[in-house]
């Protein structure tokens, strides 16, 4: 399943908020936490990461990976944490509204 437009940043922030991750790790983590349902196009992941880093929502640090190779690990900043909270709340309101709208029956109109 392709992700909805505009939700990539939210998913990245969420993935990184759980544990510092390198770029490939973010890809795997999103797949994992969405129950293998969401597929991120690899080409758009890194520009998104660079954009978020540029906006100082995440920071990066070089560290050894699981198999002891040098990798760039991303962590959430305080501003990123705030943004994640806002976006999550926004998403919840939106999905609740859409859900409510879709549940409507002819009698309720």
């Amino acid at each position: 399943m392709q992700i909805l437009p505009g939700t990539l940043d939210l998913l990245i922030l969420k993935a990184v908020s759980l544990k510092p991750l390198h770029g490939y790790g973010v890809l795997l983590r999103i797949k994992q936490i969405s129950g293998e349902a969401l597929d991120i196009p690899q080409g758009s992941l890194y520009p998104a990461l660079y954009r978020l880093e540029h906006q100082e929502l995440i920071t990066a640090e070089w560290a050894p990976s699981d198999n002891n190779r040098r990798a760039k690990f991303y962590t959430l900043t305080a501003a990123g944490r705030r943004r994640l909270k806002e976006e999550t709340a926004g998403w919840n309101r939106m999905s609740a509204a859409i859900e409510a709208a879709l549940r409507t029956t002819p009698e309720e109109v």
Partner: protein, 876 residues
């Protein structure tokens, strides 16, 4: 923004990190694929494909704000390629910019150093000078007297400090190796007034202002370094000045410089009690000046009011009060810096205006060349727009190309400007007030680059406008109808260029004519073959008038005995010396009629055969004899005409001074008037020549008329003077013609520069006209071809372009005439006997411009007339 700059600085690290991160990703993904059973080669290929490496990198850079940098670099490379492709245009544009910007920079560097930068003292804007003026007596400026200083200091509440200084020359060194050195004698509070104290030692003290106690000196940094090898034990060391031992009590900081003076050291301003009395209040003379510091908050007009009422209180009831009022006496306070550069300010601004006009011509020319170039590329631009290139993209492209061009021009302009400053220095800029400080520095370079940048942006707009108009494709399509708006603009620019060039040519012509008229003025004597040099008799060894007189007598005889010397004499003030030396003379029996002002006349003491040596004209009576023993004098024709209009000057008597006291002198001769201050000196104030025996002053000029070129005798004269007194140097040795030449410096150099600017303007205008006309021909090639195919003769075609050139010329000249009138009016202050509009000058300027325009027209019209219809029509 800051982040963007940082990103640029760490650009390489960014690229390396990004590559490593993406490589890591590819490896991990490929390994995962291999683990799921894909062969290694296929896995690597798939990983690379899914990521889309290059696109990702580009997007990552953009996400980090690096897009602009890359884009700009690309644009600059593109623009450089375009500029290289048309070397003729690029070279013309760069040369235009380099010369026009460089000329502006060089003049600006002078204006900046001389007029704009404040003097190197703390709160320098509060420093003022006060001088006495007696305008109705013909003495506009008389410095200040010692009495003025003693009466004013501490008495004027607007000033926190007030001091006096005197420019002097002294003889320094051991017998046989002496030299004349300029110094300043200053009152004790002088360094406090200007706000800079000695870095070693102390300032002068009040008790050091008498001739018994003034044997102390404060050295400039340069003098301490050079003369004393920067001796750390300098305080207390002694050296020989005017044959006396002087003790060093202080050293000034390295950057200390008072106005333009190249003084080596400072001495106390000593005076006798007699010089400080009310009787001497108006003995200002030329080289004593007051400098004072306004209190914070006090204004110049407050200070002026206090000086006026202080003067009025002092002179109330004094016997000379009436005479002073008639002479229009006043003491004027004026800003020190402003006053120091007052004489040169109009000329400098005039030159700046001249180069600004030159720059305008250059800009107009460049705009035209750029427009023509843009027109040539219009089709390309239109096609690109049709293919989807954004307007923004094209505008940015034009902007980058134009600013790149002007920035390169600005860099070259800096080089031209630096050279120009050298040229100006050799033209005499370094002799201007504060002129020695003129430098081409980083400040000027920054101004140049900023101006170049602004110029690029300004020039880009019309070009960009014509490049993105939506009818561009239609306008350049097969119809061959050229864009009327673009053509109108190009023609308007040429008209403006011709008009500006005309203004420059006419102004240059006026300056040249003014110089010519000044040079045609007779100085009143025969200046060829006259050598002059200055001698300073130190009062320590020449205290007795008799000693001075016998020295002068002996010197004249020995000089006249030299082979090649025709006649020799001495005078206390040689014409064109730069000193005016006016004082009052009272004619016996003269009753001043009501409203007549007291007059200051030039007064000279002469010895030897001064009149013969200078080549004076004798009107009546005789010259003073070489050993004139009687109390006789000679006056000039202006003086005689004023006091004895009936021509009976001979035998009349006069007193030196402003009242009839002492013994009178008898007039024995009337000589022709000479110019003292300069050839353009208009005031006929009169002059009196006294025998040196009766006025044996210490400052003398030796004057020798020679049979050979005068400069060849310089060493001989020096040797004669040294032979008489090994302590005495003969300095400032120049022929009289050189003195006159130097006095014309502020006229000759601007005239030369105006001529140079005019020549450049003419060249630019010719290039501009040629460019526009030949473009018009290229544009209308098809039209011309059709007309010729239909039977038009080559001459008709040729005269069509000639007519166009003449129309542009006529419009430009009409506009330029108005400009020339305005500039002529503005230049009146620096012109000598030349009206704002001079028919000969205007006609000459118009003629030269017409020739240039016709020359520019010849080649294009010829080319138009030789258009081959077959070829031109076949091209499309």
């Amino acid at each position: 923004m800051l982040q963007r700059v940082r990103a640029l600085l760490s650009r390489r690290r960014f690229e390396e990190n990004m590559s490593e991160e993406l490589r890591f990703h590819l490896q991990q993904y490929a390994e995962d694929l291999v683990r799921s059973g894909v062969p290694l080669a296929a896995a690597e290929r798939q990983a690379r494909l899914e990521l889309g490496l290059n696109t990702v990198k580009e997007e990552c850079r953009e996400a980090r704000g690096l897009y602009w940098f890359d884009e700009l670099a690309r644009q600059v490379r593109h623009a450089l390629r375009l500029l290289r492709k048309s070397p003729g245009f690029t070279a013309t544009a760069l040369a235009t910019l380099a010369i026009c910007l460089g000329a502006n920079l060089a003049i600006f560097a002078v204006i900046d150093s001389v007029l704009l930068r404040s003097l190197p003292f703390p709160a320098a804007e509060r420093l003022v000078t006060i001088y006495n003026t007696y305008p109705k007596a013909g003495v506009d400026r008389d410095g200040s007297s010692v009495t003025n200083y003693y009466e004013r200091r501490g008495q004027l509440p607007a000033f926190s400090s007030l001091s006096i200084y005197r420019e002097r020359e002294v003889i320094v060194g051991e017998p046989g190796s002496t030299e004349k050195v300029p110094i300043l004698a200053v009152s004790p509070e002088f360094f406090e007034t200007v706000g800079v104290l000695p870095v070693r030692g102390r300032a002068f003290r009040e008790e050091e202002t008498t001739f018994e106690t003034d044997q102390v000196a404060i050295l400039t940094h340069a003098c301490w370094q050079r003369r004393f090898n920067a001796d750390p034990e300098i305080l207390g060391r002694q050296f020989r000045v005017n044959a006396r031992k002087i003790t060093v009590v202080g050293v000034l900081p390295a950057d200390f410089r008072f106005l333009s003076s190249g003084v080596q050291f400072f001495a106390p301003f000593a005076s006798n009690p007699e010089e400080r009395t009310a009787r001497q209040r108006h003995s200002g003379g030329n080289r004593k000046y007051i400098v004072a510091r306004l209190k914070p908050g006090a204004t110049l007009s407050e200070a002026q009011a206090q000086i006026d009422s202080h003067n009025a209180a002092l002179e109330a009831g004094s016997p000379q009060a009436k005479m002073l009022a008639e002479a229009g006496f006043r003491s004027v306070a004026v800003g020190l810096h402003e006053d120091h550069v007052a004489t040169i300010r109009p000329t400098l601004w005039l030159l700046q205006a001249g180069v600004a006009v030159l720059l305008s011509i250059g800009i107009v020319n460049l705009a035209n060349l750029l427009l023509i170039r843009a027109n040539g590329r219009m089709k390309e631009m239109a096609v690109r727009q049709a293919l989807g290139a954004g307007r923004r993209q094209i505008v940015i492209e034009v902007l980058v190309e134009t600013t790149l061009l002007t920035l390169l021009g600005g860099l070259l302009g800096c080089a031209v400007g630096a050279g120009g400053v050298q040229l100006l220095a050799s033209l005499g800029a370094s002799q201007l007030p504060l002129g020695a400080q003129v430098v081409f520095d980083a400040r000027a370079a920054w101004v140049a680059l900023l101006a170049a940048l602004a110029l690029g942006v300004i020039l880009a707009w019309p070009v960009a406008w014509f490049s993105v108009r939506d009818n561009a494709l239609r306008g350049e399509s097969r119809g061959a109808t050229i864009s009327a708006a673009a053509q109108r603009l190009r023609h308007a620019l040429i008209v403006a260029e011709i008009a500006l060039a005309f203004v420059l040519l006419a102004s240059g012509g006026l300056l040249g004519l003014s110089l010519n008229r000044a040079m045609a003025v007779s100085p009143g004597f025969r200046p060829n073959h006259v050598l002059t040099g200055q001698i300073l008799l130190p009062w320590t060894s020449y205290a007795e008038p008799a000693i001075r007189y016998s020295f002068v007598d002996e010197l004249t005889r020995q000089v006249e005995a030299q082979p090649g010397v025709v006649a020799a004499g001495l005078v206390t003030n040689v014409p064109f010396s730069g000193h005016s030396g006016k004082s009052a003379a009272t004619v016996k029996g003269h009753v001043s009629h009501p409203g007549e002002s007291p007059r200051g006349s030039y007064s000279y003491a002469v010895a030897g055969n001064y009149f013969a040596a200078m080549g004076f004209v004798l009107h009546a009576g005789r010259f003073l004899a070489s050993d004139e023993r009687e109390r006789n004098c000679v006056v000039d024709a202006d003086f005689a005409q004023f006091y004895w209009p009936n021509g009976n000057a001979l035998g009349q008597q006069l007193y030196s001074g402003s009242d009839a006291t002492g013994q009178p002198y008898t007039v024995v001769g009337v000589v022709g008037p000479v110019k003292q201050a300069g050839l353009t000196d208009a005031v006929a104030q009169g002059a009196v020549y006294y025998p040196y025996r009766y006025r044996p002053e210490g400052e003398l000029y030796l004057v020798a008329r020679t049979a050979t070129p005068p400069e060849t005798l310089a060493r001989t004269l020096q040797k004669v003077v040294r032979g008489l007194d090994p302590d005495l140097p003969l300095t400032d040795i120049r022929s009289m013609e050189a003195r006159i030449d130097d006095s014309l410096l502020t006229r000759r150099s601007p005239a030369f520069l105006a001529g140079l600017f005019s020549a450049i303007a003419l060249l630019l205008t010719t290039i501009g006209t040629y460019g526009v006309l030949s473009y018009a021909v290229v544009q209308r090639r098809r039209e011309i071809a059709v007309r010729m195919a239909l039977g038009a003769r080559p001459n008709q075609i040729r005269s069509q372009y000639l007519a166009l050139a003449l129309r542009l010329l006529a419009a430009g000249l009409a506009l330029g005439l108005a400009g020339a009138w305005v500039s002529g009016q503005a230049m009146q202050a620096v012109l000598f006997q030349v009206p704002a509009l001079h028919p000969f000058v205007l006609g000459g300027a118009a003629g030269v411009l017409a020739l240039a325009c016709l020359a520019a027209c010849l080649l294009p019209s010829h080319r138009a007339a030789r258009t081959s219809p077959m070829e031109a029509l076949a091209e499309n």
